[in-house]
Symmetry: C2
Subunit: 205 residues, 2 copies
């Protein structure tokens, strides 16, 4: 950026900030539209309309429809990774039940915002190889971490920790995707309790 450009716009709301705001408006609108209508019926026209801009403007911020989807998914994955990291730092100690509870609760939290959107993202959206790789990598990391945890924790008595880790990660992911989308928050507490109980009793043998 040259000094000239800085002098031209000395007011508030410099270009980049305003542009970033519009980007966010589009992403938020897209999240609602995809969540409400699904992938195919979540048209770029609808997104632009909901964002309060024209279709032409939308294409100034994103090269195509799938780029919007990809950004929404990456955003969610980053959330998930952040939560996973947080959990991994916090809870080396404690009973296995508490560890599972942190894990499950983190997963629930990261799905509370837009549960219907997430099902669209993960189930319907055509994923680019790039995004697919990210998903696979994140899941692989989770499984590896879970296996390590099972191997090291004294309470755990399951034999095949690799299979167990995959089963646990898959179960938590899938059950939460479905249950968060279908149930009221008041019931989520109970489901969390039962899911944690199921996993705990499983690994204790």
């Amino acid at each position: 950026m040259t000094p000239d450009q800085r002098r031209i716009q000395p007011r508030k709301q410099p270009r980049q900030v305003r542009a970033e705001l519009t980007r966010q408006r589009i992403l938020t609108a897209a999240a609602h539209v995809f969540g409400d209508h699904g992938y195919a019926a979540g048209t770029t026209n609808r997104i632009a309309e909901r964002a309060g801009i024209s279709i032409g403007s939308l294409y100034q911020y994103f090269p195509n429809k799938d780029a919007i989807l990809a950004e929404l998914l990456v955003r969610h994955l980053d959330d998930g990774a952040a939560i996973a990291e947080r959990v991994q730092r916090e809870e080396l100690p404690g009973p296995i039940e508490e560890i599972f509870r942190l894990f499950v609760r983190g997963a629930i939290e990261s799905h509370l915002d837009e549960p219907r959107l997430l099902r669209v993202l993960l189930e319907q959206a055509p994923k680019s190889t790039d995004v697919l790789e990210r998903v696979e990598l994140l899941k692989k990391n989770l499984v590896a971490y879970m296996r390590e945890l099972l191997d090291e924790h004294p309470e755990v008595r399951v034999a095949d920790t690799e299979t167990a880790a995959r089963l646990i990660v898959t179960t938590v992911e899938l059950v939460i995707h479905q249950l968060v989308a279908d149930h009221e928050p008041v019931e989520l507490g109970k489901l969390e309790d039962e899911l944690v109980a199921m996993l705990t009793r499983y690994v204790r043998g």
Copy 2:
């Protein structure tokens, strides 16, 4: 049908049989096409091509694309219901672990044929209210039956059997959808064992 009509076509391959055969050809082709390409890219043209008929003929047998999807899904649901009934007749006696094994194995069996198709049917296909109601009803029945089973079985020590039944049915359904599609048959045995173990230890407290 009048006597005249009977006399006009005395050969083999009466109309209805041949028509039913064509219907089945279309459904089989559609199963492959949807499984391979997904919902959106599973076009009626591709289905007709794979079935070896023209697009016009296809529309003589089905009113629209979604009717084909719906019939495939209903067919699968009927399979599932049949298996559930079979299990319900067989296994009042025996340890809870064996009951879960029948349940899980039945679920796996009914997904072995066309796992990728099933994911498309259940995740991507826009479901009509009619089909949605059928799915809900089947699931409700399964949950009710599972709850009854938990309530009556002496080994079961879980408190909230309603929530537990829903968690179990959801877990089996989702985990199997995903795992059958993703894994080789050789691994399915291990996953079955672990899933059964998880459920058994869960309800035993």
